[in-house]
């Protein structure tokens, strides 16, 4: 610690110079290319390659047959529809359940709060497979297995922790004075929730909603154990294309591309909705 304290004041202040611009942007673009573009390009090449043996830097022969085979599968559209419906329901249900919990976590001091926090995060810490097997047993007993309801419920277990954490963080930033002001201006509990808390919680709700949506859309192991083979979500359907006795990479690349699609769409939509000023208005100056 002493060493840190001594060296800190001597550290050169980082000032962004005009001539650094080229270097910095080149570095950032290079990093972006290496981490995002390069894997995508490789994935795409694998998905259309007709054999890609080591000496070749790029494949010699190309084929669209794998893509066409997969897209032509009649079950694919149905699975995609299933996934979309499930993801939408999961997202809204998660938000609805998370909001009161997050409110309590953000606003009230209570005994064993730390313990409750860990309890909330438990599904993230424990592998999904373990959760699913445990819940699967209960669902079998309750008759929820092999039903969309069951898949939705088991997915909510996975999406809740993050949503609660995000909402707690957002709600913690709403100052008490705002709520007191609203009340003294004549707003009852409903008015305060509707006009003050919800609008200010929008950024958290959107962020949590996006993550829940994507999390639900791409969730495999829990849905597989509870729903398969009756309920087919997109990941379940896609993973069944994988054949352990042939080359995995081309098919896996196609699966990855299809699963990437909803995430991209959602982020583009979010980018449109989440304008700067809305974000700032939500977070406020206070």
């Amino acid at each position: 610690m002493a060493v840190v304290a001594e060296t800190l004041p001597k550290a050169r202040a980082r000032v962004f110079h005009e001539d650094d611009r080229l270097l910095v942007s080149a570095g950032l673009y290079a990093a972006l290319g290496l981490t995002i573009a390069l894997p995508l390009v490789l994935m795409f090449l694998w998905s259309v390659a007709d054999g890609w043996a080591p000496p070749n830097v790029i494949p010699r022969d190309y084929t669209l047959s794998r893509w066409l085979d997969m897209i032509a599968d009649p079950g694919l559209l149905r699975a995609a529809l299933n996934s979309t419906v499930i993801a939408v329901v999961v997202t809204f249900a998660t938000a609805l359940i998370a909001l009161p919990t997050a409110w309590a976590m953000a606003r009230f001091p209570f005994r064993l709060k730390r313990l409750v926090e860990i309890f909330i995060l438990a599904p993230v810490i424990i592998p999904g497979l373990v959760v699913a097997v445990g819940i699967g047993q209960v669902f079998l007993f309750l008759g929820l297995s092999y039903s969309i309801t069951g898949v939705i419920l088991v997915q909510i277990v996975g999406t809740l922790p993050l949503m609660i954490r995000l909402m707690t963080a957002t709600l913690e930033t709403i100052p008490d004075d705002l709520i007191h002001a609203a009340r003294s201006l004549g707003a009852g509990t409903v008015g305060v929730v509707l006009h003050i808390i919800l609008p200010l919680a929008v950024p958290g709700l959107l962020a949590g909603g996006l993550l829940s949506f994507i999390g639900s859309f791409e969730e495999f192991d829990k849905s597989f154990i509870v729903g398969a083979p009756v309920v087919e979500t997109l990941p379940i359907k896609l993973y069944t294309f994988l054949d352990p006795y042939s080359l995995q990479l081309p098919i896996a690349s196609i699966i990855a591309f299809i699963l990437l699609l909803p995430a991209l769409i959602v982020f583009v939509i979010a980018g449109r909705i989440l304008r700067d000023d809305l974000m700032a208005a939500g977070m406020g100056k206070l």
Binding site: L185, D277, G284, L286
Partner: protein, 346 residues
């Protein structure tokens, strides 16, 4: 019957008592300041008035109606917060119309009242702005406009100027006084700033340790405080012990002075620095220990018979150098306090 009657309000947090029975009456149209150091219970009292805290005992009546069991939204009270508490996701206009919409004021009436509030708070032309696009002073004006647009029976101010810089604070203080004169709403202003309290209020309620110490007009409290705490909190003072007999008393260094009231034995008095005349005198009992020239006046500290006195002299031709021997003259009678003992450091 007073407009606002606070009777024997107490507040306990577990075993600690934040408010001892507090009773304050405020007349209609009056501007009353509750003044005290932090932790004196003034904010607790304000929260109780607003309705976000429940008193442990006692009652509050506003215009004859008991309000202490009512939730905040049904009380006819508006508040201006120290943090402004503007709704960050609403424009200035929306902030102002929020309360009116909540209370179902019809739209044309709403527009008229908002227009009026904007005009008297110098906010015309800022209706469309978001709070974060405004300066601190403008934000505080919006907070004020949002409160007065409600046309409440009672306006509460919670140190509304303490987040502003000194110059802006002065301007807004004057605007507030002017505004109060114009709209005449009964107001309670909470602050720890004695200058603010004296400049604005019809009456000041001095609080300390959860109790009301003293109540009076700024002039009375400054000229004739009955408690050492008031004397020390409102401006500067010297607290002295004298040996009294009737209306005359002997100070520790033997000087005979007049008292403001009858006393016998040990008497505690408050002497304002500006009521002491200082005179260079080689045979005087005092020694100047420091001099600070403030422009309009000079502040001296004088050591005399083991005590230190603050003396302020206005418009002197020349300064008395530190180390000089001086004698002190007291203009008029020394002000007798009711305290049994004096606080350690004044």
């Amino acid at each position: 019957m007073s407009e606002l009657e606070i009777s024997n309000i107490t507040k306990d947090y577990g075993a600690t008592r934040a408010l001892h029975p507090v009773s304050i009456n405020v007349e209609r149209g009056e501007f009353v300041t509750i003044l005290g150091p932090s932790g004196c219970g003034k904010s607790t009292l304000l929260r109780i008035l607003m309705g976000i805290a429940r008193p442990s005992a006692g009652e509050i009546r506003l215009a004859g109606t008991r309000i202490d069991p009512l939730p905040p939204e049904t009380r006819d009270i508006a508040m201006v917060f120290q943090s402004y508490a503007l709704f960050p996701h609403m424009s200035v206009g929306k902030n102002l119309s929020f309360g009116l919409r909540m209370k179902n004021v019809p739209s044309p009436e709403r527009a008229r009242r908002i227009e009026h509030a904007l005009e008297i708070c110098n906010l015309t032309g800022l209706v469309e702005r978001m709070p974060r696009q405004l300066s601190g002073g403008q934000q505080q004006r919006v907070a004020l406009a949002r409160a007065i647009v409600m046309q409440p029976r009672l306006l509460l101010f919670d140190e509304p100027l303490s987040n502003l810089d000194a110059k802006l604070r002065d301007t807004l203080r004057q605007e507030l006084v002017y505004l109060h004169r114009r709209i005449g709403t009964t107001s309670i202003y909470v602050t720890h700033d004695q200058a603010e309290a004296m400049a604005m209020s019809d009456r000041i309620v001095v609080m300390d340790g959860g109790r009301v110490v003293e109540t009076g007009t700024p002039l009375d409290l400054y000229r004739a405080p009955t408690r050492a705490f008031t004397a020390g909190f409102l401006g500067q003072t010297n607290l002295l012990t004298a040996d009294a007999d009737g209306t005359r008393a002997r100070l520790p260094w033997g000087q005979l002075v007049a008292l403001s009231a009858q006393a016998k034995g040990i008497a505690r008095v408050s002497v304002r620095p500006e009521t002491i005349a200082i005179r260079q005198d080689d045979t005087g009992a005092g020694t100047v220990t420091s001099v600070s020239f403030m422009g309009a006046n000079a502040l001296y500290t004088v050591g005399i018979a083991g005590t230190t006195l603050k003396v302020s002299q206005a418009g002197g031709e020349s300064l008395i150098a530190a180390g000089s021997r001086v004698s002190l003259d007291f203009n008029g009678a020394l002000h007798l306090l009711k305290d049994r003992e004096l606080p350690e450091a004044a």
